[in-house]
Each structure stands twice: as structure tokens, then as C-alpha cells.
Amino acid sequence: MSSQPSPLWTHTPSSVRMTGTWRSASPDYRTLPSPCLGACPVDGRIAVWVRQVKEKDYRGAWLTLADNNPFPAIAGRICHHPCESACNRQYLDETVGICSLERFVGDMALAEGWAFDKPDTERSESVAVIGGGPAGLSAAYQLRRRGYQVSLYESKDQLGGLLRYGIPAYRLEKAILDGEIQRILDLGVDVHLNAEVGDADALKALHDKHDAVYLATGASRSKALPGLDYSQPWVMDSADFLAATNAGEECTLGKRIVVIGGGSAAMDVARTARRLGREVTVLSLEPEDQLPAQRVEVDEAMEEDVTFVTGAMMQSAGANGDGLVLNCIKVNFQAGEKRGVFTIDPIDGSEFTLSADAVIPSIGQDADITRWQGVVADDGPVVGTGSDWQTATPGVFAGGDLASMDRFVTQAIGMGKQAAVEIARYIGSGEDRDTFPELTIVPYKAISSDYYPDVARHVPANTDVAGRLENFNEVQQRLEHTDALAEAERCFSCGTCIFCDNCYLYCPDMAITKLENGYEVKSDYCKGCGLCVAECPTGSVMMYEEG
């Protein structure tokens, strides 16, 4: 035995002990879809671009937005924002104001004159896009980015479709619309205005000339309200009313207007009529809490002294002295499973009358399909397509209101993008579909909400009610810069790692390695405690059973 003192002093680091054997579950980093992404009609990477706003990388945020939507300034104004309805933050305090942030970025892009990059390589294949509304423009944009040649055929003398002719200027300033359209055209689009593709032969000719065709002519035919004589001078269809007003034509309708319908278009009509100095009553089948228009539109209409008569229908209308009398009855309204499908049950004895000078029915619009018979087939009220948006004729694709009953502007923009991908695949680019297979949307409980102090949502100001009715200036204002940053800070970045290092720095076992762009679990040492998951502010690391 040695005469030296005992070597009872440590001489080995504990890292020779593999504590990873204790583990039954392991953390794993996965970029999971946020609820907003799951709800977004254009598959917008909202968690990503909001984070870019947080980091004051506004151009980066705009580029991320523009990957899926070339119209952030427009969508930021008029999108029905299902993202906000899905937002996890609502379970803490209030949902993040995604729309107002999108507008903030979109407006900055226009103000700064940011342009889209030209495609890396030009391709020889060409696509005819028929219809210059949101779906057509979105498809044209996505195809140009991929280098395809695009010829855009628009029946009217300006591009924009519903955006131009259906959305009043107090919701969407024309300069914004023009700016975002021009930015697409600057990518190099062969535009044909006043170019109606009116029949199957014309369509076939385009099909022959191009490698593919995209039909996106919208739903331009107003539905007719039974029992209403449209030939009367006191009846005016809502689309005609909005188009005329948007074109600056003088309104000849009388003082008291009844708008029939409860959707966004009805609100647009009602509020436009108010700006023209009319007294307006909205008559809707739906009770107030089920109006299909966005709540904010209803609220703003009420602020503007639009009268609502809800849960009722008009049974007949006739002259009464100088004006009209509308004979109405209260109804029980039952929404169906699909949008636009419902049952109504008039309530006996609840009859009442409304006095008016004019009626503007605003009960929806149908697509005009019959003109292309033989090339495309119908599927009920819309053009029939496969899940790849291809019609009965190979190489002919359709989208937007023409091919879907999901009649929101951003739905149309999303469909335009999806169609562009499918067209590229049809032509043979080998491009993959944008899918999110089998990934769970990050639930609120995956967010460590302790990292987020209660902060009220930053709501952009509206112009005051009295001032609004004087003109068609935009009602909703842009978020102030500091408010936009503060609002972006409210975002949980659900499912998107923000490289905050919490997982790395909270690990009691030094079992997380920091990589250049992310993290890795050291399986030799991770004991599977789940602290990294519990302290992740974004829900982008989850525990998974091993085995």
C-alpha cells in the first residue's frame, strides 16, 4: 500500500455518468403550426412575421407576409381575420391584433416602395389568368415569382375585381389597392383589360395558346330576392350600387333606404348609403348575434346610425304615397351546417311594416358558369374542381368565388396561391404542395404564459363618427409605430422557436446544446424532466414518450 495520502479527492467529471438512462420521455423540437396559421386562408406564417416585427425587421416581416399574400396592406384592412379568432392569447387576455399589424407592415412596404424580387429564372411556359380580382392577381403573382409567363385577362377597364368595385373606399383606400396591384404588375404581367372571355370557344383558344388557364372571374351575378320586382326604379342591386358609388356616379335613390341582407356586402351598402346622406335600415333574416358580417362592421354601422331590424323578412313591397311600404314578418332563423344554408320559419302574428323610398337587396352573388359549358362542369353553384383546383378539362384550373362558397377576400387570395402551386406542378416544376401533415396545432396549455404579463390589445383609432359620414375616407387608422411594436410583443409565437434560450438555460442537466440555429437534446444526459417544455414561451418543444 502506498504511503502517500489517500486519493480521496475527486478526479473525474460527473459527465462520465449517463443520466439519460433515467428518462422515459424526451423533449423534441418541432416547429408546430400556430392556431393563427391553422386558421389563415393564405397559410400565412403569422408567428414568424410578427416576430420579425418584434425584432424591427419590418422588411423581413413583409417578405414573409408576401410569400403567401401579395396584399398585406389590403388584407390588413379587410381580412375577416380568422387568425385572431383562433389566437391563443385570447385565453390570457385578448387576442393579438394580427390584422392591424399586417396593415402596419403593408403600409410601411408601400410607403417605403419595397418591390418584389424578380424571379431567379424566367421560364418559357405561360399561363392565362382570367379575372383580375384577388384570386387571379394572387395566382398571377405566385406564378410570376416562379418564373412563369402570365397573361391576365380582365373584363373591366381596371384590375381589382371585388376589391375595387365591391369594397368601399372608407374600408380600403384606392391608392392602397393600386399600390399593391402595381407591385405585382411590376414583376412583368401581360395585362389585357376589357377582355371578356365570354364563351367556351374563347376559353379554348386561350387554353391552346397557353400551357394552363386559371379561371377566377368571381361571382358577379347578384342573387335575386323572390317577390321583389327588380324593374322598379326604387330597387337597385347591391353590387351595382357599390360599383356605381365606387366609380363616383351620383346616387338617385330616395332618402330612406332599406338594405336587405346581413353580410359584409350589406354592411358596405348600408354604410355607403349613410355617407350619401341616406337614412338606412338593415333588414336581415339572421338575429343580430348571428349576422354573417364581421362584428366590427356591424358595430361601426350602428355607430353610424344604421338601424337594424334583424330576425325578420320582407314579404312584399309596394308604393305608398311618395314612398314605399315593406310588409315584413319576424322569423325563426336556423343556420345550417354550411355557410349560406339555413331554414326560416315565419312567426305568425308578428307582421310589421317598414316605410322606405328604396330597397337594395344584398343577399349574395352567384358565379356565371354556363358560358363555358363544355370546358368546365358545375358543382352546384360553383365550378367543379378537384382538390388540386383543376376543372373537368386538364390544364384548366379555377378558384376564388367562381369555384368556392368560401367568399372572403383572403380565401380567394389563398386559393390563388394554391392554384399557382398546382399549375406549376401540372406544368412540371416538381414543386411540393404546402402541407402541414399530422401536426398538432399548438394549444394554449403548451405556452408558458407566465412570460407574458397582461397587456391590453393595442387598438388603432377610428375617425370620429360625425367626421366619417362627411366623406369616404378610411375609418380605421393605422397603428402607431410604438403601439405596433408593443402589439407584436403580445404575440406568443406559438410553435415557432424564438431562440430565447429558455430551454438551454433552464436545463438543470446541461442537456441542451445550442446550435447555430436551434437546439439539440443530449440524450446521454437528459433526464426527461420536461422543464424545458414547461418554460418554453412558444410551445415549440414538446415531450414525447420514447420507445
Binding site: S14, R17, P508, D509, K527
Partner: protein, 291 residues
């Protein structure tokens, strides 16, 4: 969201035998990496002793002297004095002890070292009981908490060690929490720069001892801070009190409900704790106001 930004320089090794999810190990990681390599630690019997060691292995890359349970502060004094005699005045001497080795059996030596104003940085990992021996009460165990030796809940309140230490007028005393890592690191950094006796008491929710879920010790500590059960503050020279968080923002129930040691509590029991916390908070604010 506030980002955590302490720098890990590899002073604490993987492979230690702390329970998975243990925030004593986490706090050790933060403290060791903040103090740096020019340091010696003295550790009386405690979970930290187990975490550091297991001959022939060491989980820490600074020398550690494992001493007896009563002796933490005295042994640390001995290390410091020997270093001073050898001219190594700048080496940080840490004493890292549990609440048993601090509030109870080690209090005499701690008081003496404080009175002598020894230049040591004393860390108390306060898990409010003898958790390394399976969970018995210490004088740090709070009112109503159940332990192996107070199975019906403790009848008396937690000893106020801060006030005892403040009475010694040592340069620096602070409370800290693994839920507030930046604050913990900043306090260690600050203490490191002060000559004389420094004591930092770190709240350590014990997974088995308190009945906390494996992934919930940080959250429990956070609730402790936010409910005002364990306020974060500093006392300089025994008289100047400074709060480090904005007020208490939660009822104590948010903290208690995460722990099985309180599961026997009735509403009255919770109310009694709330009342104690409210009174202590008010008393603390008075001290802050005076300082």
C-alpha cells in the same frame, strides 16, 4: 418577454445525480457560472453535497470541500483565511448550504462568520426542510406545511433569517429564485464584488419534498415570488432594503395549489397563510420605505 442572459462557461457538468427537474441543480449552474473558475466552495451535507459529488466524480469544476452540517460558514472562513495567508485575496469562497445547515444547525457558525464579516459568499438553498433526509421540518419550514416530522402541518411560522442576518449589519443579503434567473445571476455578480459577508437565500421548491411535478419547480418558485410568499429583495449593510419585483400580484393559493405538502389545507388554512404573507409583506414594505 425578458430574455435570460447568463453565460454558461461549463463550470457545472452533466451527469450529476440531482432529481430530474431539480432547480437546486439549476441554481447551482447559474451561480457557479456567474462566480467563475477562481472560486472554492464549501458544502455541508445537503442535496448540493450529493449533486456535487459521488467520489471519484465531481459535477463542479471548482474545488469543493464537503464539511459537516454545523460547519459551513466556519469552514468557509477557514478556506478564505488560508487563501488570504497565501496572498490569494481575490478567490471567491462560496459556502453553499441547505436551510438545515443555515437556519438550524449551522446558524451559530453563520452568525459568527457574519459578525466577523468574513469575506465569503454564502448561498442558502432554501427548500424549507430536511429534504435530503426524506423531508422533515426545519426552522425554515413554513406555517401549515406538512413534512415527515410535521405530518399534520407545521404549527409555527418560518424563521425570518433575513432579519437575523440584517441584525449583523453585514454588507449584503438578498433573496433569489430560480424563476428569476437574471436577478439571481445579477445578485451573485454583485455579491462577488463586495468584500465581506454576503448571504443569498434561494428558494428551492423540492420536487419530492414539496410534492411538485417534475417540470414545475420553476413555476412553483415563480408563484412563490409573485404571490409575495417569497419576495425578492436585497438588504445592504443590514438597513437598506430594496425590492426587486413590482409588488405581489397573486393570491397565495396559486402557489400552494402546486404543492402536495399543502393539500390537507382547508380554506381557513389558506386564509391563515394569506394573512401571514400579507402582514409580512406590509412589514417588509415598511422597511423598504425607511431604508
Amino acid at each position: 418577454m425578458e430574455m435570460i442572459d447568463y453565460q454558461d462557461d461549463g463550470l457545472f457538468n452533466s451527469g450529476h445525480v440531482a432529481c430530474g427537474g431539480c432547480v437546486e441543480a439549476l441554481s447551482l449552474r447559474v451561480i457557479l457560472n456567474t462566480v467563475g473558475k477562481d472560486a472554492v466552495a464549501v458544502v455541508p451535507p445537503s442535496c448540493t453535497a450529493v449533486i456535487c459529488g459521488g467520489y471519484p466524480m465531481s459535477s463542479v469544476n471548482i474545488p469543493v470541500f464537503h464539511t459537516t452540517l454545523e460547519s459551513g460558514a466556519a469552514s468557509a472562513s477557514g478556506v478564505k483565511r488560508a487563501l488570504m495567508a497565501k496572498g490569494k485575496h481575490d478567490t471567491t469562497v462560496l459556502c453553499i448550504a441547505g436551510d438545515g445547515g443555515t437556519y438550524d444547525i449551522g446558524l451559530q457558525a453563520l452568525s459568527s462568520a457574519a459578525e466577523r464579516n468574513e469575506d465569503i459568499l454564502y448561498i442558502c438553498f432554501d427548500n424549507e426542510g430536511y429534504m435530503n433526509t426524506g423531508g422533515q421540518k426545519s426552522s425554515s419550514t413554513p406555517l401549515n406545511a406538512a413534512t415527515g416530522s410535521t405530518p399534520g402541518g407545521k404549527d409555527t411560522r418560518k424563521k425570518n433569517l433575513i432579519e437575523i442576518l440584517a441584525a449583523h449589519r453585514i454588507p449584503y443579503i438578498a433573496t433569489a429564485s430560480p424563476s428569476h434567473v437574471n436577478d439571481l445571476a445579477a445578485k451573485v455578480e454583485k455579491a462577488k464584488g463586495i468584500r465581506g459577508m454576503k448571504v443569498i437565500i434561494v428558494l428551492i421548491p423540492c420536487l419530492p419534498g414539496w410534492g411538485v411535478a417534475d417540470n414545475a419547480a420553476v413555476k412553483t418558485a415563480r408563484m412563490g415570488v409573485e404571490s409575495g410568499v417569497f419576495p425578492l429583495f436585497e438588504v445592504e449593510d443590514g438597513v437598506t432594503y430594496t425590492m426587486n419585483t413590482d409588488g405581489k400580484s397573486r393570491p397565495v393559493g396559486d402557489y400552494l395549489s402546486l404543492q402536495k405538502r399543502y393539500r390537507h389545507l382547508t380554506d381557513d388554512g389558506v386564509a391563515a397563510i394569506q394573512s401571514e404573507v400579507d402582514q409580512d409583506w406590509q412589514r417588509l414594505q415598511q422597511r423598504v420605505a425607511v431604508g
